[in-house]
Amino acid sequence: MTDTAWIDAALTSARPQAVGALLRYFRNLDTAEEAFQNASLRALKSWPQNGPPRDPAAWLIMVGRNVAIDEVRRSRKQQPLPEDDQAISDLDDAEDALAERLDGSHYRDDILRLLFICCHPDLPATQQIALALRIVSGLTVKQIARAFLVSEAAMEQRITRAKARVADADVPFETPGAVERTERLSAVASMIYLIFNEGYSAGGDTTEARAPLCEEAIRLARLLLRLFQSEPEIMGLTALLLLQHARAAARFDKDGALVLLDDQDRSRWNQKMIAEGLALIDKAMRHRRSGPYQIQAAIAALHARAEKPEDTDWTQIDLLYGALELMQPSPVVTLNRAVAVSKVRGAEAALAMIEPLGERLSNYFHFFGVRGAFLMQLGRNDEARVAFDRAIALANTSAEAAHIRMHLDRLMRDSQPRGAKAK
Protein backbone atom coordinates (compact mmCIF):
# COMPACT_ATOMS: atom_id res chain seq x y z
CA MET A 1 0.00 0.00 0.00
CA THR A 2 1.25 3.50 -0.76
CA ASP A 3 1.77 6.05 1.98
CA THR A 4 -1.35 8.00 1.14
CA ALA A 5 -3.52 4.89 0.86
CA TRP A 6 -2.21 3.80 4.23
CA ILE A 7 -2.93 7.19 5.80
CA ASP A 8 -6.41 7.27 4.25
CA ALA A 9 -7.25 3.91 5.80
CA ALA A 10 -5.79 4.97 9.15
CA LEU A 11 -7.78 8.22 9.15
CA THR A 12 -10.98 6.42 8.23
CA SER A 13 -10.56 3.83 10.96
CA ALA A 14 -9.64 6.42 13.63
CA ARG A 15 -12.41 8.79 12.63
CA PRO A 16 -15.39 7.63 14.75
CA GLN A 17 -13.31 7.49 17.93
CA ALA A 18 -11.49 10.76 17.26
CA VAL A 19 -14.53 12.80 16.22
CA GLY A 20 -16.48 11.23 19.10
CA ALA A 21 -13.87 12.35 21.65
CA LEU A 22 -13.51 15.80 20.10
CA LEU A 23 -17.28 16.16 20.26
CA ARG A 24 -17.14 15.40 23.99
CA TYR A 25 -14.53 18.16 24.47
CA PHE A 26 -16.15 20.82 22.33
CA ARG A 27 -19.81 19.82 22.56
CA ASN A 28 -20.31 21.13 19.07
CA LEU A 29 -20.41 19.02 15.95
CA ASP A 30 -18.95 21.65 13.61
CA THR A 31 -16.02 22.42 15.91
CA ALA A 32 -15.33 18.72 16.41
CA GLU A 33 -15.42 18.01 12.72
CA GLU A 34 -13.24 20.96 11.88
CA ALA A 35 -10.74 19.95 14.56
CA PHE A 36 -10.58 16.47 13.04
CA GLN A 37 -10.08 17.93 9.55
CA ASN A 38 -7.21 20.08 10.79
CA ALA A 39 -5.62 17.15 12.58
CA SER A 40 -5.94 15.03 9.42
CA LEU A 41 -4.17 17.70 7.39
CA ARG A 42 -1.31 17.69 9.88
CA ALA A 43 -1.23 13.90 9.78
CA LEU A 44 -0.81 13.98 6.01
CA LYS A 45 2.27 16.15 6.51
CA SER A 46 3.70 14.57 9.61
CA TRP A 47 3.10 10.82 9.26
CA PRO A 48 5.01 10.23 6.01
CA GLN A 49 8.05 11.98 7.56
CA ASN A 50 7.94 10.83 11.15
CA GLY A 51 6.30 7.49 10.63
CA PRO A 52 2.84 6.56 11.85
CA PRO A 53 2.02 7.17 15.51
CA ARG A 54 1.42 4.15 17.71
CA ASP A 55 -2.15 5.21 18.30
CA PRO A 56 -3.48 7.25 15.37
CA ALA A 57 -6.78 8.05 17.10
CA ALA A 58 -5.04 9.43 20.20
CA TRP A 59 -2.71 11.48 18.00
CA LEU A 60 -5.61 12.94 16.04
CA ILE A 61 -7.60 13.78 19.16
CA MET A 62 -4.60 15.47 20.75
CA VAL A 63 -3.65 17.48 17.69
CA GLY A 64 -7.25 18.28 16.81
CA ARG A 65 -7.89 19.58 20.29
CA ASN A 66 -4.75 21.69 20.37
CA VAL A 67 -5.33 23.26 16.99
CA ALA A 68 -8.90 24.12 17.91
CA ILE A 69 -7.85 25.62 21.23
CA ASP A 70 -5.17 27.65 19.47
CA GLU A 71 -7.76 28.94 17.09
CA VAL A 72 -10.13 29.96 19.83
CA ARG A 73 -7.27 31.85 21.46
CA ARG A 74 -6.35 33.55 18.24
CA SER A 75 -9.91 34.56 17.57
CA ARG A 76 -10.05 36.10 21.03
CA LYS A 77 -6.96 38.04 20.05
CA GLN A 78 -5.24 37.07 23.25
CA GLN A 79 -1.58 36.55 23.70
CA PRO A 80 -1.03 32.81 24.02
CA LEU A 81 0.70 31.77 27.19
CA PRO A 82 4.15 30.63 26.12
CA GLU A 83 4.70 27.81 28.63
CA ASP A 84 1.29 26.36 27.95
CA ASP A 85 1.90 26.39 24.25
CA GLN A 86 5.11 24.52 24.68
CA ALA A 87 3.45 21.86 26.77
CA ILE A 88 0.73 21.13 24.26
CA SER A 89 2.93 21.13 21.22
CA ASP A 90 5.12 18.44 22.75
CA LEU A 91 3.08 15.61 21.33
CA ASP A 92 5.28 12.64 21.89
CA ASP A 93 5.29 12.85 25.67
CA ALA A 94 1.65 13.58 25.94
CA GLU A 95 0.51 10.90 23.55
CA ASP A 96 1.08 8.01 25.93
CA ALA A 97 -0.75 9.61 28.78
CA LEU A 98 -3.65 10.52 26.56
CA ALA A 99 -3.86 7.10 25.00
CA GLU A 100 -4.07 5.68 28.50
CA ARG A 101 -6.98 7.90 29.40
CA LEU A 102 -8.76 7.17 26.16
CA ASP A 103 -8.80 3.46 26.70
CA GLY A 104 -11.86 1.86 28.12
CA SER A 105 -14.40 4.09 29.73
CA HIS A 106 -15.06 6.98 27.35
CA TYR A 107 -14.28 5.33 24.06
CA ARG A 108 -17.49 3.31 23.82
CA ASP A 109 -19.86 6.08 24.81
CA ASP A 110 -18.06 8.63 22.65
CA ILE A 111 -18.69 6.61 19.51
CA LEU A 112 -22.21 5.71 20.53
CA ARG A 113 -23.01 9.37 21.25
CA LEU A 114 -21.62 10.44 17.90
CA LEU A 115 -23.70 7.83 16.08
CA PHE A 116 -26.72 8.66 18.16
CA ILE A 117 -26.52 12.38 17.42
CA CYS A 118 -26.56 11.56 13.71
CA CYS A 119 -29.81 9.60 14.05
CA HIS A 120 -31.57 12.01 16.34
CA PRO A 121 -35.34 11.39 16.18
CA ASP A 122 -35.90 15.01 15.09
CA LEU A 123 -34.17 14.23 11.81
CA PRO A 124 -35.95 12.63 8.84
CA ALA A 125 -34.39 9.36 7.70
CA THR A 126 -32.64 10.81 4.66
CA GLN A 127 -30.95 13.46 6.81
CA GLN A 128 -29.88 10.85 9.38
CA ILE A 129 -28.15 8.81 6.74
CA ALA A 130 -26.49 11.79 5.09
CA LEU A 131 -25.25 13.13 8.41
CA ALA A 132 -23.87 9.77 9.55
CA LEU A 133 -22.07 9.21 6.27
CA ARG A 134 -20.55 12.67 6.44
CA ILE A 135 -19.64 12.80 10.13
CA VAL A 136 -18.93 9.20 11.12
CA SER A 137 -17.79 7.66 7.87
CA GLY A 138 -16.11 10.78 6.52
CA LEU A 139 -17.51 10.43 3.01
CA THR A 140 -17.27 13.65 1.04
CA VAL A 141 -20.42 15.61 0.25
CA LYS A 142 -19.78 14.77 -3.39
CA GLN A 143 -19.69 11.02 -2.69
CA ILE A 144 -22.89 11.19 -0.65
CA ALA A 145 -24.63 13.34 -3.26
CA ARG A 146 -23.71 10.78 -5.90
CA ALA A 147 -25.15 7.94 -3.86
CA PHE A 148 -28.42 9.80 -3.39
CA LEU A 149 -28.55 11.01 -6.98
CA VAL A 150 -28.85 14.66 -5.99
CA SER A 151 -26.65 17.64 -6.71
CA GLU A 152 -23.75 18.43 -4.46
CA ALA A 153 -25.30 21.74 -3.49
CA ALA A 154 -28.56 20.07 -2.49
CA MET A 155 -26.69 17.53 -0.37
CA GLU A 156 -24.57 20.24 1.24
CA GLN A 157 -27.75 22.01 2.21
CA ARG A 158 -29.33 18.84 3.55
CA ILE A 159 -26.32 18.18 5.78
CA THR A 160 -26.13 21.77 6.99
CA ARG A 161 -29.79 21.66 7.90
CA ALA A 162 -29.36 18.38 9.74
CA LYS A 163 -26.44 19.79 11.73
CA ALA A 164 -28.42 22.86 12.73
CA ARG A 165 -31.28 20.69 13.96
CA VAL A 166 -28.95 18.45 15.92
CA ALA A 167 -27.29 21.49 17.52
CA ASP A 168 -30.69 22.61 18.81
CA ALA A 169 -31.58 19.15 20.04
CA ASP A 170 -29.33 19.23 23.11
CA VAL A 171 -28.12 15.66 23.35
CA PRO A 172 -26.69 15.23 26.86
CA PHE A 173 -22.94 14.71 27.14
CA GLU A 174 -22.90 12.92 30.46
CA THR A 175 -22.17 9.20 30.42
CA PRO A 176 -25.55 7.64 29.61
CA GLY A 177 -27.37 5.37 32.04
CA ALA A 178 -28.26 1.77 31.16
CA VAL A 179 -31.75 2.57 29.85
CA GLU A 180 -30.54 5.53 27.85
CA ARG A 181 -27.71 3.47 26.41
CA THR A 182 -30.13 0.77 25.26
CA GLU A 183 -32.34 3.38 23.59
CA ARG A 184 -29.37 4.94 21.84
CA LEU A 185 -28.17 1.56 20.72
CA SER A 186 -31.49 0.68 19.16
CA ALA A 187 -31.79 4.04 17.36
CA VAL A 188 -28.26 3.65 16.02
CA ALA A 189 -28.98 0.10 14.84
CA SER A 190 -31.99 1.36 12.82
CA MET A 191 -29.89 4.10 11.30
CA ILE A 192 -27.22 1.62 10.21
CA TYR A 193 -29.94 -0.54 8.68
CA LEU A 194 -31.27 2.50 6.82
CA ILE A 195 -27.83 3.19 5.38
CA PHE A 196 -27.60 -0.42 4.26
CA ASN A 197 -31.04 -0.36 2.64
CA GLU A 198 -30.22 2.81 0.82
CA GLY A 199 -27.39 0.91 -0.84
CA TYR A 200 -29.22 -2.39 -1.15
CA SER A 201 -32.34 -1.02 -2.84
CA ALA A 202 -30.27 0.61 -5.55
CA GLY A 203 -31.17 -0.37 -9.07
CA GLY A 204 -28.81 -1.84 -11.63
CA ASP A 205 -27.89 1.58 -12.95
CA THR A 206 -27.11 3.00 -9.53
CA THR A 207 -25.56 -0.10 -7.95
CA GLU A 208 -22.04 1.08 -8.41
CA ALA A 209 -22.64 4.45 -6.81
CA ARG A 210 -24.52 2.95 -3.90
CA ALA A 211 -22.72 -0.31 -3.14
CA PRO A 212 -20.28 1.55 -0.87
CA LEU A 213 -23.23 2.38 1.38
CA CYS A 214 -23.74 -1.34 2.06
CA GLU A 215 -20.08 -1.81 2.87
CA GLU A 216 -20.04 1.25 5.09
CA ALA A 217 -23.12 0.00 6.96
CA ILE A 218 -21.38 -3.33 7.57
CA ARG A 219 -18.29 -1.55 8.85
CA LEU A 220 -20.41 0.52 11.25
CA ALA A 221 -22.32 -2.57 12.40
CA ARG A 222 -19.06 -4.37 13.17
CA LEU A 223 -17.83 -1.29 15.01
CA LEU A 224 -20.99 -1.20 17.08
CA LEU A 225 -20.75 -4.91 17.81
CA ARG A 226 -17.16 -4.52 18.95
CA LEU A 227 -18.37 -1.94 21.46
CA PHE A 228 -21.33 -4.06 22.57
CA GLN A 229 -20.01 -7.59 22.27
CA SER A 230 -22.89 -9.32 24.03
CA GLU A 231 -25.90 -7.69 22.39
CA PRO A 232 -27.72 -10.38 20.40
CA GLU A 233 -29.66 -7.84 18.33
CA ILE A 234 -26.44 -6.15 17.21
CA MET A 235 -25.10 -9.59 16.27
CA GLY A 236 -28.36 -10.15 14.40
CA LEU A 237 -28.10 -6.81 12.61
CA THR A 238 -24.51 -7.45 11.54
CA ALA A 239 -25.39 -10.98 10.42
CA LEU A 240 -28.39 -9.71 8.46
CA LEU A 241 -26.33 -7.13 6.59
CA LEU A 242 -23.56 -9.63 5.81
CA LEU A 243 -25.95 -12.33 4.61
CA GLN A 244 -27.82 -9.93 2.36
CA HIS A 245 -24.74 -8.25 0.99
CA ALA A 246 -23.18 -11.68 0.29
CA ARG A 247 -25.61 -11.96 -2.62
CA ALA A 248 -24.68 -8.60 -4.14
CA ALA A 249 -22.74 -9.98 -7.11
CA ALA A 250 -25.65 -12.23 -8.13
CA ARG A 251 -28.52 -9.76 -7.67
CA PHE A 252 -28.23 -8.04 -11.05
CA ASP A 253 -27.51 -9.42 -14.49
CA LYS A 254 -25.07 -7.84 -16.88
CA ASP A 255 -27.76 -5.48 -18.19
CA GLY A 256 -28.50 -4.28 -14.69
CA ALA A 257 -31.82 -6.14 -14.42
CA LEU A 258 -32.84 -7.52 -11.04
CA VAL A 259 -32.33 -11.29 -10.64
CA LEU A 260 -34.70 -12.91 -8.14
CA LEU A 261 -33.36 -15.16 -5.39
CA ASP A 262 -34.59 -18.31 -7.14
CA ASP A 263 -32.76 -17.43 -10.34
CA GLN A 264 -29.47 -16.21 -8.86
CA ASP A 265 -26.20 -17.94 -9.63
CA ARG A 266 -25.44 -19.09 -6.11
CA SER A 267 -21.80 -19.75 -6.90
CA ARG A 268 -21.40 -15.99 -7.03
CA TRP A 269 -22.52 -15.53 -3.44
CA ASN A 270 -19.70 -14.38 -1.18
CA GLN A 271 -18.97 -17.39 1.03
CA LYS A 272 -16.74 -15.48 3.43
CA MET A 273 -19.52 -13.05 4.27
CA ILE A 274 -21.97 -15.92 4.60
CA ALA A 275 -19.61 -17.71 7.01
CA GLU A 276 -19.32 -14.60 9.15
CA GLY A 277 -23.07 -14.01 9.07
CA LEU A 278 -23.85 -17.60 10.05
CA ALA A 279 -21.27 -17.46 12.87
CA LEU A 280 -22.90 -14.32 14.26
CA ILE A 281 -26.45 -15.65 14.12
CA ASP A 282 -25.22 -18.79 15.90
CA LYS A 283 -23.73 -16.64 18.63
CA ALA A 284 -26.86 -14.53 18.92
CA MET A 285 -29.23 -17.51 19.26
CA ARG A 286 -27.33 -18.67 22.34
CA HIS A 287 -28.62 -15.67 24.26
CA ARG A 288 -32.24 -16.73 23.77
CA ARG A 289 -33.33 -13.10 23.53
CA SER A 290 -34.88 -12.99 20.12
CA GLY A 291 -35.50 -9.78 18.21
CA PRO A 292 -36.45 -8.53 14.76
CA TYR A 293 -32.89 -8.35 13.43
CA GLN A 294 -32.08 -11.86 14.61
CA ILE A 295 -35.22 -13.26 13.01
CA GLN A 296 -34.55 -11.53 9.72
CA ALA A 297 -30.96 -12.75 9.86
CA ALA A 298 -32.18 -16.28 10.55
CA ILE A 299 -34.39 -16.06 7.45
CA ALA A 300 -31.46 -14.79 5.38
CA ALA A 301 -29.37 -17.63 6.84
CA LEU A 302 -31.88 -20.24 5.60
CA HIS A 303 -31.55 -18.83 2.10
CA ALA A 304 -27.76 -18.72 2.39
CA ARG A 305 -27.62 -22.36 3.53
CA ALA A 306 -29.64 -23.65 0.56
CA GLU A 307 -27.27 -24.69 -2.20
CA LYS A 308 -30.14 -24.85 -4.68
CA PRO A 309 -33.42 -22.90 -4.52
CA GLU A 310 -35.34 -26.17 -4.04
CA ASP A 311 -33.32 -26.87 -0.89
CA THR A 312 -34.76 -23.78 0.82
CA ASP A 313 -36.55 -24.57 4.07
CA TRP A 314 -39.70 -22.56 3.34
CA THR A 315 -41.61 -24.09 6.24
CA GLN A 316 -39.07 -22.70 8.68
CA ILE A 317 -39.07 -19.34 6.86
CA ASP A 318 -42.87 -19.21 7.15
CA LEU A 319 -42.55 -19.83 10.92
CA LEU A 320 -39.88 -17.16 11.31
CA TYR A 321 -41.97 -14.58 9.46
CA GLY A 322 -44.86 -15.58 11.72
CA ALA A 323 -42.68 -14.77 14.75
CA LEU A 324 -41.63 -11.48 13.16
CA GLU A 325 -45.29 -10.59 12.51
CA LEU A 326 -46.03 -11.00 16.22
CA MET A 327 -43.03 -8.90 17.22
CA GLN A 328 -43.35 -6.20 14.58
CA PRO A 329 -46.75 -6.36 12.93
CA SER A 330 -46.57 -4.77 9.49
CA PRO A 331 -48.24 -5.41 6.15
CA VAL A 332 -44.79 -5.67 4.53
CA VAL A 333 -43.84 -8.54 6.85
CA THR A 334 -47.11 -10.31 6.05
CA LEU A 335 -46.42 -9.80 2.36
CA ASN A 336 -43.01 -11.45 2.76
CA ARG A 337 -44.55 -14.26 4.74
CA ALA A 338 -47.04 -14.83 1.93
CA VAL A 339 -44.17 -15.61 -0.43
CA ALA A 340 -43.06 -18.39 1.92
CA VAL A 341 -46.66 -19.55 2.27
CA SER A 342 -47.01 -19.78 -1.51
CA LYS A 343 -44.08 -22.22 -1.55
CA VAL A 344 -45.42 -24.31 1.33
CA ARG A 345 -49.19 -24.22 0.83
CA GLY A 346 -49.59 -22.84 -2.67
CA ALA A 347 -50.51 -19.58 -4.35
CA GLU A 348 -54.21 -19.80 -3.42
CA ALA A 349 -53.49 -19.66 0.31
CA ALA A 350 -50.85 -16.97 -0.21
CA LEU A 351 -53.22 -14.80 -2.22
CA ALA A 352 -55.90 -15.06 0.46
CA MET A 353 -53.30 -13.94 2.97
CA ILE A 354 -52.37 -10.73 1.14
CA GLU A 355 -55.89 -9.79 0.00
CA PRO A 356 -56.60 -7.79 3.20
CA LEU A 357 -53.36 -5.80 2.75
CA GLY A 358 -54.49 -4.16 -0.50
CA GLU A 359 -55.72 -1.00 1.10
CA ARG A 360 -52.63 -0.31 3.19
CA LEU A 361 -50.18 -1.27 0.44
CA SER A 362 -52.05 0.40 -2.39
CA ASN A 363 -48.94 2.39 -3.31
CA TYR A 364 -46.37 -0.32 -2.68
CA PHE A 365 -44.55 -1.70 -5.68
CA HIS A 366 -43.77 -5.09 -4.17
CA PHE A 367 -47.40 -5.73 -3.21
CA PHE A 368 -48.49 -5.63 -6.83
CA GLY A 369 -45.44 -7.52 -8.03
CA VAL A 370 -46.08 -10.35 -5.57
CA ARG A 371 -49.84 -10.32 -6.17
CA GLY A 372 -49.28 -10.49 -9.91
CA ALA A 373 -46.94 -13.45 -9.49
CA PHE A 374 -49.46 -15.36 -7.36
CA LEU A 375 -52.26 -14.68 -9.87
CA MET A 376 -50.02 -15.79 -12.71
CA GLN A 377 -49.28 -19.05 -10.88
CA LEU A 378 -53.02 -19.60 -10.58
CA GLY A 379 -53.51 -18.97 -14.30
CA ARG A 380 -55.57 -15.83 -13.66
CA ASN A 381 -53.62 -13.99 -16.32
CA ASP A 382 -55.94 -11.02 -16.91
CA GLU A 383 -55.90 -10.12 -13.24
CA ALA A 384 -52.15 -10.71 -13.13
CA ARG A 385 -51.67 -8.24 -15.96
CA VAL A 386 -53.62 -5.56 -14.10
CA ALA A 387 -51.46 -6.10 -10.99
CA PHE A 388 -48.23 -5.98 -13.01
CA ASP A 389 -49.31 -2.79 -14.77
CA ARG A 390 -49.88 -1.19 -11.41
CA ALA A 391 -46.48 -2.45 -10.20
CA ILE A 392 -44.69 -0.87 -13.13
CA ALA A 393 -46.39 2.43 -12.43
CA LEU A 394 -45.08 2.24 -8.85
CA ALA A 395 -41.57 0.94 -9.59
CA ASN A 396 -38.82 2.80 -7.74
CA THR A 397 -35.95 1.85 -10.01
CA SER A 398 -35.64 0.97 -13.67
CA ALA A 399 -34.43 -2.51 -12.62
CA GLU A 400 -37.71 -3.11 -10.78
CA ALA A 401 -39.72 -1.99 -13.78
CA ALA A 402 -37.68 -4.13 -16.15
CA HIS A 403 -38.28 -7.17 -13.97
CA ILE A 404 -42.06 -6.72 -14.05
CA ARG A 405 -41.98 -6.10 -17.78
CA MET A 406 -40.38 -9.53 -18.15
CA HIS A 407 -43.42 -11.09 -16.44
CA LEU A 408 -45.76 -9.13 -18.69
CA ASP A 409 -43.89 -10.32 -21.77
CA ARG A 410 -44.27 -13.89 -20.61
CA LEU A 411 -48.00 -13.39 -20.08
CA MET A 412 -48.24 -11.93 -23.53
CA ARG A 413 -46.45 -14.91 -25.08
CA ASP A 414 -48.61 -17.40 -23.19
CA SER A 415 -51.84 -15.76 -24.22
CA GLN A 416 -50.99 -15.61 -27.91
CA PRO A 417 -53.05 -17.93 -30.09
CA ARG A 418 -51.21 -21.12 -31.06
CA GLY A 419 -50.95 -20.21 -34.73
CA ALA A 420 -49.14 -16.98 -33.96
CA LYS A 421 -46.52 -18.80 -31.86
CA ALA A 422 -44.94 -20.48 -34.87
CA LYS A 423 -44.03 -17.16 -36.43
Partner: protein, 122 residues
Protein backbone atom coordinates in the same frame (compact mmCIF):
# COMPACT_ATOMS: atom_id res chain seq x y z
CA UNK B 1 11.95 -26.63 13.28
CA UNK B 2 8.35 -25.54 12.97
CA UNK B 3 7.40 -22.01 13.89
CA UNK B 4 4.00 -20.51 14.26
CA UNK B 5 3.78 -16.93 13.07
CA UNK B 6 0.87 -15.21 14.76
CA UNK B 7 -0.38 -12.11 12.98
CA UNK B 8 -1.52 -9.15 15.03
CA UNK B 9 -2.93 -6.01 13.52
CA UNK B 10 -5.45 -3.29 14.34
CA UNK B 11 -8.71 -4.70 13.13
CA UNK B 12 -10.32 -1.27 12.74
CA UNK B 13 -7.51 -0.41 10.38
CA UNK B 14 -7.55 -3.56 8.26
CA UNK B 15 -11.35 -3.33 8.25
CA UNK B 16 -11.09 0.13 6.67
CA UNK B 17 -9.29 -1.20 3.63
CA UNK B 18 -11.29 -1.03 0.45
CA UNK B 19 -11.92 -4.31 -1.35
CA UNK B 20 -9.15 -3.38 -3.79
CA UNK B 21 -6.67 -2.54 -1.05
CA UNK B 22 -7.46 -5.81 0.72
CA UNK B 23 -6.99 -7.79 -2.47
CA UNK B 24 -3.70 -6.00 -3.18
CA UNK B 25 -2.32 -6.87 0.27
CA UNK B 26 -3.42 -10.52 -0.06
CA UNK B 27 -1.78 -10.66 -3.47
CA UNK B 28 1.53 -9.38 -2.10
CA UNK B 29 1.39 -11.82 0.79
CA UNK B 30 0.74 -14.68 -1.62
CA UNK B 31 4.02 -13.89 -3.39
CA UNK B 32 5.92 -14.14 -0.09
CA UNK B 33 4.16 -17.39 0.86
CA UNK B 34 4.84 -18.84 -2.55
CA UNK B 35 8.58 -18.80 -1.99
CA UNK B 36 8.26 -21.08 1.04
CA UNK B 37 5.51 -23.18 -0.52
CA UNK B 38 7.76 -24.02 -3.47
CA UNK B 39 10.35 -25.35 -1.04
CA UNK B 40 7.69 -27.41 0.75
CA UNK B 41 8.14 -25.41 3.92
CA UNK B 42 4.76 -23.70 4.19
CA UNK B 43 2.30 -25.33 6.59
CA UNK B 44 -1.30 -24.33 7.31
CA UNK B 45 -2.22 -20.68 6.78
CA UNK B 46 -5.36 -19.14 8.23
CA UNK B 47 -6.99 -15.74 8.10
CA UNK B 48 -9.53 -15.43 10.88
CA UNK B 49 -12.92 -13.76 10.60
CA UNK B 50 -13.34 -10.52 12.60
CA UNK B 51 -13.10 -10.74 16.40
CA UNK B 52 -16.78 -9.81 16.56
CA UNK B 53 -17.49 -13.37 15.39
CA UNK B 54 -15.39 -14.81 18.24
CA UNK B 55 -16.66 -16.59 21.34
CA UNK B 56 -14.51 -17.32 24.38
CA UNK B 57 -14.91 -20.29 26.73
CA UNK B 58 -13.40 -19.54 30.14
CA UNK B 59 -12.51 -22.86 31.71
CA UNK B 60 -13.89 -22.09 35.10
CA UNK B 61 -16.01 -24.56 36.95
CA UNK B 62 -18.51 -24.61 35.35
CA UNK B 63 -17.05 -23.15 32.15
CA UNK B 64 -18.32 -19.72 31.17
CA UNK B 65 -19.06 -18.73 27.59
CA UNK B 66 -18.30 -15.10 26.74
CA UNK B 67 -18.91 -13.14 23.57
CA UNK B 68 -15.86 -11.72 21.88
CA UNK B 69 -12.17 -12.54 21.68
CA UNK B 70 -10.11 -13.80 24.63
CA UNK B 71 -8.23 -10.57 25.13
CA UNK B 72 -9.26 -6.98 24.54
CA UNK B 73 -6.14 -5.58 22.95
CA UNK B 74 -5.30 -2.67 20.70
CA UNK B 75 -4.13 -5.11 18.06
CA UNK B 76 -5.95 -8.37 17.52
CA UNK B 77 -4.93 -11.87 16.48
CA UNK B 78 -6.13 -11.94 12.88
CA UNK B 79 -4.43 -15.04 11.48
CA UNK B 80 -1.46 -17.36 11.61
CA UNK B 81 1.07 -19.35 9.59
CA UNK B 82 2.95 -22.53 10.38
CA UNK B 83 6.32 -22.62 8.62
CA UNK B 84 9.32 -24.90 8.59
CA UNK B 85 12.52 -22.93 9.20
CA UNK B 86 16.11 -23.85 10.13
CA UNK B 87 16.28 -21.35 12.92
CA UNK B 88 14.82 -18.18 14.35
CA UNK B 89 16.73 -16.01 11.88
CA UNK B 90 15.10 -17.71 8.97
CA UNK B 91 11.66 -17.43 10.54
CA UNK B 92 12.31 -13.74 11.20
CA UNK B 93 13.33 -13.26 7.57
CA UNK B 94 10.03 -14.73 6.45
CA UNK B 95 8.16 -12.52 8.91
CA UNK B 96 10.07 -9.47 7.65
CA UNK B 97 9.06 -10.26 4.08
CA UNK B 98 5.44 -10.63 5.20
CA UNK B 99 5.76 -7.33 7.06
CA UNK B 100 7.04 -5.58 3.96
CA UNK B 101 3.98 -6.81 2.08
CA UNK B 102 1.60 -5.83 4.87
CA UNK B 103 3.04 -3.06 7.08
CA UNK B 104 1.77 -2.20 10.55
CA UNK B 105 0.94 -4.43 13.49
CA UNK B 106 3.22 -7.23 14.65
CA UNK B 107 4.12 -10.86 14.14
CA UNK B 108 4.71 -13.13 17.09
CA UNK B 109 7.12 -15.94 16.22
CA UNK B 110 6.61 -19.00 18.40
CA UNK B 111 8.38 -22.34 18.02
CA UNK B 112 5.90 -25.18 17.73
CA UNK B 113 6.12 -27.92 20.37
CA UNK B 114 3.71 -30.42 18.93
CA UNK B 115 2.20 -30.41 15.48
CA UNK B 116 -0.58 -32.51 14.01
CA UNK B 117 -1.21 -31.69 10.38
CA UNK B 118 -4.82 -32.82 10.78
CA UNK B 119 -7.09 -34.16 8.09
CA UNK B 120 -9.58 -31.37 7.45
CA UNK B 121 -10.25 -30.92 3.79
CA UNK B 122 -10.90 -27.34 2.74
Amino acid sequence: MLYAILCYHDEDFTGSWTKEQDAAVMQKLAVVQDKLAKQGRLGPVARLLPTTSATTLRKENPPVVLDGPYAETKEQLLGFYVVDCQNLDEALDFARDLGAANPGGAYEIRPVGMFMPGSVAK
